[in-house]
Structures are given as structure tokens and as C-alpha cells.
Amino acid sequence: MPQRHWEDFSPGSVFEFGPRLVTRDEIVEFASAYDPQPMHLDEAAARASMLGSLAASGWHSCCLLMRMLSDSFISQSHFMGAPGVEEVRWLAPLRPGETVRARATVLETRPSRSRPQLGFVRFLFELLDSSGARVMTLTVSPMFARRRAPYATRGGALC
């Protein structure tokens, strides 16, 4: 399969990933390692919390999305990473046994001023539950290699 370059993304394009089952065991295992709040570890504590019942750490949702992208998207493109993340919104609890999907919508593209061999693609990622409701949105502008570097490139390493 041809690998996507920066030129292959245009505003309005939509990509879909998944499905991915999220089990109770992995929710508890992730929370034990990285977010050991009782509402992510224990059903009784979760019932007494704002969550109402056991749900995944929001960071777990971020990591699951990263893995889903790695498996089906990053590996098929000249992805050069992202220096950060613009915004993450945790909109609904991610419950054990849920099957999630992800949708990526291209918001805009722009060439890098300092690195002519790269361009940025600004995406809205949505993590969706099995009913189609949004669990999380994540806005980020990763870099991709350009297919044709413009004239007068500085050349050399990418960083």
C-alpha cells in the first residue's frame, strides 16, 4: 500500500479506525500503573464518585487512541510525530466491555516554515463508543514528510 505523505491530506478528509474492545482487566491494570484513583480501580468506589460506575482513566483513552492510530494509520504514512496536543476533552466515561472506534477528520494542512521537507496536518480525533457517542475528542497537529520538498530546501536531517 502506498504510504501517505503530507500532500495526501486535505481538509474534510475522514479516516476511521477500530473497532477495539476495552476490557475491565485492562482498565484496572492501566489505572493501577498510571492513574490509581479508586474510581478507576474499584466498582464500589466508582459508584460513590462522579463517574457513577467503573470507567477507564482518561489517559487510558488517549493511549488506546494512540495505539489504534499506530496500528492502522501511522504505519501507513510518513508520520513524523507531534510536538504536543492542542486539546483533549473527556466527554463521557469509557466503561468496561465497551467497543470503541476512532474517527479522524482533517481540519487544515500547512507546510512547515522552518523545515521545508515537512508539513503539519491538524486533525480532530473522536473516540466513539458502540452507540456512536463521543467518549473523547483530541485535537492535534502531527508532522508528515512532504512528497516533493520545495526548491531551496535546506536539506539534511529532519530535525
Binding site: 488517549c62 483533549v88 473527556w90 536531517a157 530535525c159
Partner: protein, 163 residues
Amino acid sequence: MRFFEDIGVGDRAEIGRHTFTAEEIKAFAARFDPQPFHLDEAAAAHSLFGRLCASGWHTACLWMRLAVEHRGREDAMRRASGEAVAALGVSPGFRDLRWPNPVYAGDTVTYATEVLELRPSASRPEWGIMTARNTGTNQRGEPVLSFISSAFVERRQQQRARS
């Protein structure tokens, strides 16, 4: 957790530090961010980074863990001295996450949090919303992580009744 009314803008705490071993960098990456420069020293040597480095999500997740542990220690001290402990609610999310420098295997990151803004929740009178800037700094004093988080924090009963 302190109650919403007991927190002040500008309050800052160092919440802990963590040394990232090559083994845990690879284990996290294999699970969530399987890119060559997070998985393998030889591949990392040929990448932009030059050496094995942690997934940015790994660096951020350790902030979360140390924040929870820091709060647990503070809550235990408050309980031991007979003080009430406030509940921390969920977080609606975060913004402006930056990874300005890589975290290499063997680096030690010191994490901190500073309160930026406090406002009562319009829709939930028993909760306030705390906005904080969270940072990670390596052993050379270089920034490796920053983001701005928000979270619901419990208000004192009498303050709720007045509002």
C-alpha cells in the same frame, strides 16, 4: 485533596520524580506507542532522537500517577490530624500539552503542578473547577512536559449553602 475554598491561585507543589528505565520505556511503547525510537536502541540511534526515548504519553501518564500518589500522602496527613478530606471529581480534559524535549532512558523527571484559576461550577453547586499548569523537568533543568488541566474539586458544605 484540599477543599475548593482552601486552594489559592499560584499554589505550587512538586509532586514527585521518576527515573525512566529502558525496560519500562520499551514496555509502555510496545503496549501503546510502538514506534521504533521508543522500542529499540539501535533503531533509535538512526532516528531524529538519536537515542531510546519515552513515548510522550508515557511521560504524561507518570505525571498522573505521581499526582495521585502526592494527593494520597496529603490526604493521609490530613486524616491523621483529624481534618476532613475533599473529594476530587473527574477531569473534563486538558489543553496545550507540549513535549519540548525528549525523555531519554535513564533520565529523571521532576513533576510539578501550579494552580492557575479557580471558579465555581455553574451547573454543579457542590463542585468547583480548578485549572492548573502541570510540568515535567529533567535532571538538566530542561522542560520535557507541560499541559493545562482542569478538574472538579469538592466545595465545603457551608459554602455551597451560601451560593
